[in-house]
Symmetry: C2
Subunit: 472 residues, 2 copies
């Protein structure tokens, strides 16, 4: 019996489509009504989570879609997963909900156990964690840790106290207390939409128009030619070109670069992949210049690429300094290993809540299930099966499956259409055959199913894609 | 029967102190062990939330403290409140925990009802809400809304599209797409510790040392002489002086000021109060200069000052443009009323989660209980009783109860010691008589009990304070 059958004996065997338009009439009504109190313009449909199960999301009209977008890559183990329901009903969870502590001041007796639940699946080389509340929050807390560390090194180590001038100038927002320092990120990257995370995000204007921004440098991220095995030489040169840009920015940017921030796969920005050599190159450059390397695993983490953490494919050495997470983990934060990344004095990396213990308890349950059922390996297997089927489709419909990518990255698969309009039409048409599917960047389709997406779901997905494409 | 007796038939009648040192030996052991995975330097003690009840927090050693700090002003209705436990056990909550939606794309059928739970207690004049995850997050999302609004006005309204130059320059983090704009805040203010919220925070160096900062202006916040009724003329002049500073900053700051951000009572920064006239002055100045007024109710909201929202005491007209909340509400976000504060196009005020429905459901339950039991009025009454008792103590121990403040602000009361060392010793000594109490700024004590802190608890608190002070 497969994992999804164990979890979901009542999972539908196929999608059910009952409306002729999308969103259906009840969703349309709900979107209009919701619009009175909430910006409902981006709503695709109103969901019925009571009726959703496993890989199937049900909408207010009774359509039951195979969901390969999973709340923007965030549902880890399917809708209404019984193991997570059990965790949600536990006394520990109920206490975490009603007695939410200021974890830094008054942690409960169970905090160490809760944190160990997160650490049990920490990326290789990481043995410490700091909790946050969202991907953007996790990244910004990692920036703080990076800047604290960088200045401590500059100051001569953790034991050198702050100068009077630092203590005075910081209250005016001026150097040396508030130094000019940068995080380097990449064009087409997405790291969140707050002000510092937004300053590192560089995928679409809509994410940050009208927002003041830190003047932080952007390097180019490799743009590979596909299929990879036919363009090895060119792609290798592309790596070199991009690494030289990074190296040059360290030398030429107007202020010191304290950290380099990168996604293992640029996810929102178009599923852009880069090689092990590129990532090792980044590691080498950061070491050379005394900067930290921050891996943003918000979208790639928790098994989605076939290993628990996406960057573990690269086997870079020494490991990244900070690894941020959110989405499928349902909680957020960053892992690290260097004790010098703990700030020199207390109350610097601190806030009222320091994370949400309810979401951290759930993360522990998610981690435990993912490990117990060996889900990254299973995702790798089903991803391989799916990729092959998509290659077959590509041969048949090359125009609609350009730059198929994500081979050996489990179900973390994407491809391109000619343009935005064609891609958007495809996403919408997939609803008519019962599939909820998402895009990324201007003209890409991205697959982001749950970790309990299996061969039978892949078959349904491929048949649905073919049904739509055959009508074009 | 009082509200606390209805909720907590088993609430202790007095604190129990069983250790001779604080933290006690079991807490010390827990802090050391926790320190392996978490920065446990700021931990006061390890709490036992299973045993905590109502106004009493129990630690790992079995000490049972009357808690007038309540998780840095965040526990609304006492520990293990049965009404909140009921909400935590509901099917709605369990679904919100296990099927966390991307609320902007796939809201559940219950989202409108959940949001209406927050809107039912919106400050006068506000009828819209946007969810967030923490006080800092709420403030930064409010900044985004402010900048979007400000640039739309400058552009000539919502219907004027972004220019090509804006769309291009924003991707480089440059003007005009990423304009130089500021939020004005005040010296001694606290608004969070991320990069933009940190740029408005100005209470202690430790909050922001080594962090890059936006160059945003700080005005002086009034410093009143106490008791207020004996210094009316001087305090009025102080208001004028500070308002003139604000007005001047609008004229002289190096970039346009899009919004003014202020706490109804500067809470972390020392419980600094200002008059209705001062706040109306801020309202007038923002209107005059085409800027928005943002009220940070993170610490003052949910009845703590005797009205549901602290700034409602000021009766400013027209109402503030944005009101942010968190802490006692257990969820976060901002209220607003002007439809033009909704961004011109979708996906600008957006992120994967757009808040946490589990925490929003709890907030609805909190709001409903606070209203049902008329808790702000009850807090006002017990606060008046407590303030009188503290005035009596002040007459007896003037050195240890300087600048007693918070009259007519329910239990939102504070006073000063001579210096940090004396204040810190007092906070620690209060543990020996069974009270968990917190400080703010350099030398102040702040009272932040729950909303079910009643006369009998006030009597225990006052007796405990007198017991400590009588030994000095």
């Amino acid at each position: 019996m497969s994992t999804s059958e164990q979890y979901f004996p009542n999972e539908p065997v196929a999608p059910t489509v009952v409306t002729s338009e999308f969103p259906g009439p009840k969703s349309q009504e709900g979107i209009k009504s919701l619009g009175q109190v909430f910006d409902s313009r981006p709503v695709y449909f109103i969901a019925d989570y009571e009726k959703s199960v496993g890989n199937y999301i049900v909408d207010a009209d009774g359509n039951s879609f195979l969901d390969v977008y999973a709340q923007i890559a965030s549902i880890p183990l399917g809708y209404n997963n019984p193991a997570l329901i059990e965790a949600a009903k536990s006394d520990k969870m109920i206490r975490a909900i009603v007695d939410r502590p200021a974890l830094g001041n008054y942690p409960g007796k169970d905090l160490e156990e809760i944190l160990n639940g997160l650490l049990a699946v920490a990326p290789k080389g990481q043995d410490k964690v700091f909790p946050a509340l969202s991907g953007a929050d996790a990244n910004e807390l990692a920036f703080k840790a990076t800047f604290f560390w960088y200045q401590a090194q500059k100051r001569g180590g953790h034991k050198v106290p702050f100068s009077d001038e630092e203590n005075t100038s910081v209250m005016k927002g001026q150097a040396p207390g508030s130094p000019e320092l940068a995080i380097l990120s990449f064009e087409r990257a997405f790291h969140g939409r707050l002000f510092a995370s937004g300053s590192t995000t560089c995928s679409k204007p809509v994410h940050k128009l009208d927002m003041p921004s830190f003047n932080w440098p952007k390097a180019e991220f490799p743009s590979y030619k596909y299929p990879l095995d036919k363009h090895e030489e060119e792609n290798k040169k592309e790596d070199q070109r991009c690494l030289e840009i990074v190296e040059n920015l360290f030398k030429t940017h107007s202020c010191p670069i304290a950290g380099v921030l990168v996604e293992p796969i640029q996810s929102e920005g178009g599923d852009n992949h880069a090689s092990n050599e590129f990532f090792q190159g980044l590691r080498d450059i950061t070491l050379k210049h005394g900067a930290l390397l921050i891996m943003d695993e918000v979208q790639t983490g928790i098994g989605a690429t076939g290993l628990f953490w996406g960057h573990e494919h690269f086997e870079i050495s020494p490991p990244a300094d900070l690894v941020t997470f959110s989405k499928k983990f349902q909680t957020a934060g960053y892992y690290f290993h260097d004790p010098e990344i703990i700030p020199n004095v207390a109350y610097r990396q601190f806030n009222t809540w320091c994370g949400d213990p309810a979401r951290m308890i759930l993360a522990g349950a998610i981690a435990s299930e993912v490990v117990k059922h060996d889900l990254p390996a299973k995702a790798q297997k089903v991803g391989g099966y799916l990729f092959k089927k998509l290659e077959d489709l590509q041969a048949k419909y090359p125009q609609y499956l350009q730059n198929l990518r994500g081979k050996d990255r489990a179900t973390f698969i994407a491809w391109c259409f000619d343009n935005s309009a064609a891609r958007d039409k495809f996403l919408k048409d997939m609803k008519t055959v019962g599939v909820n599917i998402g895009g990324c960047a201007e003209k890409s389709v991205r697959l982001r199913p749950t970790m309990v997406f299996e061969q039978k779901h892949a078959d349904i997905l491929v048949a649905a894609i073919e049904k739509v494409l055959s009508g074009y």
